[in-house]
């Protein structure tokens, strides 16, 4: 969770100080390396892509508004994730049930990023990711946070522990339980009326690949 080598500690501190004074551009610069991670993190707490973008922006606005509470006692990224996580948890409590019906497939662009792969492979990858995101959203929030930060984003145990304000042992336990929970969810057959249902209305399928695309042996 460190910044790119070009940005020095003093540089970050300067950006933080400017952002704390209301410099939006400095804040954007500060976030530059974090945007994709925050947006992915938001996807684990939102039921739809559109909702995820909104949620991520809402959380980042909260980070900006709370910026003067940052006192350099931890890495900025740790503090950022802690605030974002708190915003997601608050929002998911408020939005529970409201957004489940809005589930959408992954955007086509994601499949297009599978550089050089065949269309059928790209589609399978997209389906797998979509299924995984959907299952992840059903994992209890405290386990979900650990899974996203550790398994997806590659944070260390210590970093996750600092973000969640829990001991490292708790993080390990949450990861173990979260993975077991996730595996159980993924083992369940997809139900047409369940949260892992195929989004036929959107033009993508989550079940078997279309007949014209056969799985390679």
């Amino acid at each position: 969770m460190s910044y790119s080598p070009g940005v020095t500690r003093e540089g970050i501190d300067d950006l933080i100080a400017r952002a704390q004074d209301g410099d939006v551009r400095a804040f954007e610069e500060l976030l530059e390396d974090r945007l994709a991670q925050v947006r992915r993190f938001a996807r684990a707490f939102a039921a739809s892509e559109a909702d995820a973008e909104d949620l991520a922006q809402e959380a980042l606005v909260r980070v900006y508004r709370s910026l003067r509470l940052f006192r350099y006692q931890s890495a900025f990224s740790t503090w950022l994730y802690a605030v974002v996580r708190s915003a997601f948890l608050d929002a998911s409590k408020g939005r529970a049930g409201k957004t489940r019906s809005l589930e959408e497939p992954l955007e086509r662009e994601h499949a297009a990023r599978e550089g050089g792969s065949r269309p059928d492979e790209a589609l399978e990858g997209e389906q797998d990711r979509r299924r995984l995101w959907n299952a992840l959203r059903q994992v209890p929030a405290e386990f979900r946070t650990a899974l996203v930060l550790f398994d997806i984003e590659g944070c260390t145990y210590d970093e996750v522990a600092a973000i969640e304000s829990v001991p490292v042992g708790t993080v390990k336990s949450r990861l173990h339980r979260g993975r077991s929970h996730l595996r159980r969810l993924l083992d369940e057959p997809e139900r047409p009326d369940g949260p892992l249902r195929p989004a036929k209305e959107s033009g993508t399928q989550t079940g078997a690949p279309p007949s014209h695309l056969s799985r390679r042996p």
């Binding site: 952002a19 704390q20 004074d21 209301g22 939006v24 804040f27 954007e28 945007l35 994709a36 947006r39 992915r40 996807r43 973008e53 991520a56 922006q57 809402e58 980042l60 606005v61 900006y64 508004r65 709370s66 910026l67 003067r68 509470l69 006192r71 006692q73 955007e107 662009e109 994601h110 990023r113 990858g125 797998d128 990711r129 995984l132 995101w133 992840l136 899974l147 398994d151 997806i152 984003e153 590659g154 993975r179 996730l182 595996r183 993924l186």
Partner: protein, 193 residues
Amino acid sequence: MSKRGEVEDRDLRDRLRGLRVDPPDGDFQASLRRRLLAAGPPLVPTPWQRLGPRLERPRRLVWPVAGIAAGVLAFFALARLHAQRVLPDGQPPGYVTLLPATKVAVVRLNLSASVAVESAHILVTLPPELAFWVNGQELPQRAFEWTQPLTRGDNEIPIAVRGQRPGRYRIAVSARIGDERVVDEVFLEVVGG
């Protein structure tokens, strides 16, 4: 974890790592900028928020301290309730025992001695509204005195009494050992029914 479990775990972690795909920007940054500008500058922390980090440790102690305080309060509340509870087979001196009128209660007086005493003179005095009860019969006298040895530690003296009418009454107990005299009292509350 079994071999199979490890493989499954590794496979799941690989799949999760595969989710680390950067989402397309679209108009995310432009939209975020609009929201940031609309939100206004960072808020000035309130005095409470300024104290936040310094209060972090005390705040962590709030629940344990509250738990201990609740425990202590519960102990005192229970002790009080215990003192007021109906205990037909008696109570140590100083407690209030509830006794339904016309029922017999055994009140256990406890004389605690720091050394064994060969001969102690004991006097128990009842108010007119209470009576001693022996072998299924009410005794007319309201005071009883006798001499007995006391062992070191607690010496329990059970006396059976019966209340005539509702009210709170005091049973006086005195023990005389040589020139030394110890006086104690037990309250008995006779209630209707």
